[in-house]
Amino acid sequence: MVQWNFEFKEVAVKLVYYGPALSGKTTNLQALHGMFSPDHRGRLMSLETQNDRTLFFDLLPLQYKTPSGLSVKVKLYTVPGQVIHNSTRKAVLAGADAVSFVADSQKSQALSNSISFKNLKENLKANGIDFDAIPIVIQFNKRDLDQIKSLEEIRHDWGQSRFPTLAAVASQGKGVFETFECLMRMAFDSLNQKYEFDRKYGFQVQDLVSALTTDKIRSLLSLKSALVSTGGFTLPR
């Protein structure tokens, strides 16, 4: 749930990366951490076990200040994917403003993906969050592996849904920033309907996206090419 401090003109938004174990949620955050300008990102906090499995969560805080003085803080969280950690997933998901569901593209992981997506629905409901209203994007990660669901299949299965889907190879940083940008845009489209940050403070997501990355990174990114299906998302001009 967005935290809005009118007195200090601060808004804090929570974005959660959800998905089955080993789908690439932590890899997404690690890649983003490497891409973001140090002026606008904090330390990446990870609580992990010895074999690099997320024990509790990962957290990456970001900050951007608009010329009009609005301070926008974005907190990116991941959840632990292993089935046993449901209480932590529920706790991390509380207050989320948007969710990126990171699916493993391998056909062998279809069941894990679906169990995790069902779990997302349940935990959103347990937290009093309307599954049909909260912005959700779906990232099909691991596009570099064999035996993966094809893009045509993804378009067929998800094209009519309200969820934008994106392709990614998070281990190579591909599709990672694009997923983040799509998630941010959807989150603020939703928030602007209620709080009108754009009209009242001149806040444009594009400005935040531009501020977060270096010119070199920006030139490599293409949201349009990473999108597999648009769902309820309108590409920026």
């Binding site: 804090a12 509790f56 969560f57 907190k75 969280y77 209480s87 932590t88 998901l93 207050g95 009093g128």
Partner: protein, 220 residues
């Protein structure tokens, strides 16, 4: 909509073990001959590690000296700091202070004020501008000022940089531990509630257990 235990505002007192951190501050003061104060978001002093320099003690003995010193110190502990860098300030008596904010996830949670110190020869000009009636005392004060330790500007810059990094690490590590503890407690509570629900669904089994226990108790 439920609030997350990960998101409530964290304060500096949540994150620092004050007695332990006081030792670190005192070691810093001894190493660099530089006093410091760590204060909370509201300006309350949490840790004070002073370096007597003789000069400030003399200033405090002057008429209104103690009050003026206290006002200068309180201003440093509460005035807004710009950005996340070191903010320099000069006391009414001409000695210097430096302050930097402590942030956690871009939230301001406190500050560190270093000083008073001098990084060059002392001049009474600043003192006389604010307190012109102290012209006579200014001459005697210069002797005390010259005997106060003088900090090399480069060394000072490095010392401050080191302290800021060390504090940032302290805050981060302790925040991580705090959140881990909360999540762990949450997981334990959830497990307990889940176990209790299962027990409630099996009252007959519970009753049998209780009866068996009562019989066993009778044997002892």
């Amino acid at each position: 909509m439920s609030e997350s235990m990960l998101d409530p505002r964290i304060t500096l007192t949540d994150l620092l073990d004050l007695p332990v951190f006081r030792e670190v501050c005192e070691a810093f003061t001894q190493a660099f001959h530089l006093g410091l104060r760590v204060s909370s978001e509201s300006g309350q002093t949490l840790i004070e590690s002073l370096e007597p320099n003789g000069f400030c003690e003399e200033v405090a003995r002057l008429k209104d000296g103690r009050r003026l010193c206290a006002e200068a110190r309180d201003r440093l502990l509460t005035q807004p700091l710009s950005g996340s860098t070191v903010n320099a300030a000069t006391c009414f008596c001409g000695f210097k202070y430096a302050a930097f904010p402590l942030n956690y996830q871009f939230d301001f949670i406190g500050r560190v004020v270093l000083g008073p110190y001098r990084d060059g020869p002392w001049s009474p000009q600043r003192l006389l501008e604010s307190q012109p009636q102290l012209k006579k005392e200014a001459k005697s004060l210069s002797g005390f000022a010259e005997r106060a330790p003088q900090l090399d500007p480069e060394l000072f810059k490095n010392a401050v940089r080191f302290l800021a990094k060390a504090l940032d690490a302290f805050v981060f590590v302790n925040a991580k531990r705090l959140i881990t503890t909360r999540l762990h407690l949450n997981a334990v509570m959830e497990s307990r509630q889940s176990a209790l629900k299962k027990l409630e669904a099996e009252p007959a089994a519970m009753l049998l257990d209780t009866e068996n226990l009562a019989k066993l108790k009778g044997l002892f």
